[in-house]
């Protein structure tokens, strides 16, 4: 990461790096961020390079480059927060109100202008473009994303993660970890056009084995849908359907499906790999 810092110019346009680059690891990241560290620790976060740029009128832009260990993990961290439109920087990106987020290879990058005026926003984008060139080749998306049914899928609303904290920030399910999610589980969360203006959701979870997957299904149904039929289907209070289906070590949960049949169809369309 130290070498990475040398590859990114300390002066970009009217903006100059202020002070030395700061490096953090999983033990020290709490020193740098309050409230955000767990976002990264829920993935395979390795190291962080943090640099401040100071520009006209002493305005500040933060450049944070996270080594997430693999392109899949970098995809994950970006995918869990997609409120803004793409910015065309790096492999995949979002930008809005002074905050640029993008991924390139195993790196996830955040460039944030403390003041969200147009000038600082343009500078944040430029700093991001320059930094992206130093981050090496692109990398693949997680294989879990490729298992999702394609029809009706909203790619810009698809997330990949491991832990319950990530799920609940993406889509609140329960105050407890009723699905037994942790660093050993891989999750893909997707939205599907349901024709009603509101999306249906599909949560695909891969457990280390079939038994923990079955236990998670039991836990989910007993907590979330105790009235479910033997197929794991139940109507919900807002006139939608929930489904929990088990296929080997994969648990497929459909939420807020507009119909029973659509829930079953979505679950059946998941491309679970043959053993």
């Amino acid at each position: 990461m130290e070498d990475l810092g040398k590859l990114i110019p300390r002066t970009i346009g009217d903006w100059r790096a202020s002070g030395n680059d700061q490096l953090y690891d999983p033990k020290t990241i709490y020193d740098y961020m309050d409230g955000g560290a767990e976002v990264y620790l829920a993935f395979d976060f390795r190291r962080l390079l943090a640099r401040k740029y100071v520009g006209p009128e002493e305005r500040e832009i933060s450049l944070d480059i996270f080594d997430m260990g693999s392109p899949e993990e970098a995809y994950g961290i970006l995918s869990c927060d997609r409120e803004d439109p793409p910015a065309g920087i790096g492999q995949d990106s979002t930008y809005g109100f002074g905050l640029l987020r993008f991924r390139q290879g195993r790196y996830f990058v955040s460039v944030m202008a403390a003041d969200e005026d147009e000038r600082a926003g343009r500078a944040a984008l430029e700093i991001g473009r320059v930094a992206a060139k130093a981050l090496g080749p692109p990398g693949p998306a997680p294989d879990m994303v490729g298992l999702l049914p394609g029809e009706g899928l909203r790619p810009d609303r698809t997330s990949y993660f491991h832990a319950n904290v990530s799920l609940n920030n993406r889509h609140f399910l329960a105050s407890e970890n009723i699905l037994g999610l942790d660093r050993t589980t891989d999750c893909a969360f997707a939205e599907y056009d349901a024709g009603s203006g509101k999306p249906a959701y599909l949560l695909l979870i891969r457990y280390p084995g079939a038994e923990p997957a079955a236990a998670a299904r039991r836990s989910f149904l007993s907590t979330y849908a105790p009235e479910a039929d033997p197929e794991g289907l139940a109507p919900t209070e807002n006139k939608t359907w929930v489904l929990a289906a088990l296929r080997d070590r994969y648990l497929i949960i459909v939420l807020e499906s507009p119909s029973r049949d659509r829930a079953l169809e979505l679950a059946a369309s998941v491309a679970i790999p043959a053993k």
């Binding site: 409230g35 955000g36 987020r101 609140f172 105050s175």
Partner: protein, 292 residues
């Protein structure tokens, strides 16, 4: 054991007991036994650039504390909280994006001095409170910080503000910071908190990016939430955050995941009340867009 709160509980409307009961609707606890919390607001406490008017803020603090303690004079009210000869720590918050306003620290400090506490025996600190002699030797604490959402704990309020007193902050992170309330039982803190002031001048109702901050999710509410019970104060703060999230982000995102530490501070650690039916909320001042 409390069953997990699920998304479906929201659909069923069964979350009212936990997070959504209508304030003032609860009739089962006599008013005299309720925990009092004061929400005070003033339209002009912030200017168009969010600069704080210190005189108005002082007046808001005075109004809140006098209403809280049924006193007519703010100095007498503070005199009920602290005595001359005491050492008092003001536990503030220095988070760079949204710190406790200096004007609020100064307003508290002024009234402590007015009440007879020597200026050199008043400490204001955040990150080093556990080793700061003015806090180690404090006989009273004043707890103040801004109201905001937190990625892990759901909400940062008066309960979470004391995490800096803990020997290990990391040890309090599991399970959405469920056991933050335990900090209030540490010897350096226990039974010393006289006042909790949750600064809602510019609360943050949602977070983005690595630092969980974006100015677009901060709004000028121009209020203070004040009480002697940190759990009750945070319970009101959470209601405000939920109301704003519902208004801006929609009902699906009403609850910031997952502020369980507030309820558990009550039910598991017994340091205050999170039962809205047992909280008497007094609202005073500007009431436009009050939300709660």
């Amino acid at each position: 054991m409390t069953p997990p709160l699920t998304r479906r509980d929201f659909l069923k409307g069964t979350t009212v007991v936990l997070f959504g009961a209508s304030l003032g609707a609860g009739q089962d606890v006599p008013a005299a036994k309720k925990t009092r919390v004061v929400l005070v607001r003033h339209r002009d406490v912030l200017d168009d650039n969010s600069a704080v008017n210190p005189d108005i803020l002082q007046g808001m603090l005075d109004e809140a504390v006098t209403r809280l303690l049924d006193e007519s004079d703010p100095v007498k009210a503070f005199g009920k909280l602290v005595k001359p000869g005491e050492t008092v720590g003001i536990k503030s918050n220095v988070w760079s994006y949204l710190p406790t306003p200096r004007e609020l620290e100064s307003a508290i400090q002024k009234r402590l001095v007015d009440a007879g506490v020597a200026a050199d025996r008043i400490g204001i600190d955040d990150h080093t409170v556990a080793s700061n002699p003015l806090f180690v030797n404090a006989t009273s604490l004043i707890n103040t910080r801004p109201l905001r959402t937190h990625y892990l704990a759901g909400m940062s309020g008066c309960i979470k503000n004391y995490i800096m007193f803990a020997p290990s902050q990391e040890a309090l992170h599991p399970d959405s910071c469920a056991d933050l309330g335990s900090v209030f039982k540490l010897p350096i803190v226990k039974d010393k908190t006289r006042l909790n002031i949750l600064c809602a001048l510019t609360p943050q109702f949602h977070g983005r990016g690595p630092h969980h901050f974006s100015r677009r999710y901060v709004w000028s509410y121009k209020g203070l939430i004040v009480g002697q019970d940190p759990v009750a104060v945070d319970t009101i703060g959470l209601r405000l955050i939920m109301a704003k999230r519902r208004e801006v982000l929609g009902p699906d995102q009403e609850l910031p995941p997952v502020p369980k530490h507030i309820q558990l501070a009550d039910t598991r650690h017994g340091i205050g009340t999170s039962d809205l039916n047992a909280i008497e909320l007094i609202k005073t001042g500007w009431d436009e867009d009050i939300l709660i």
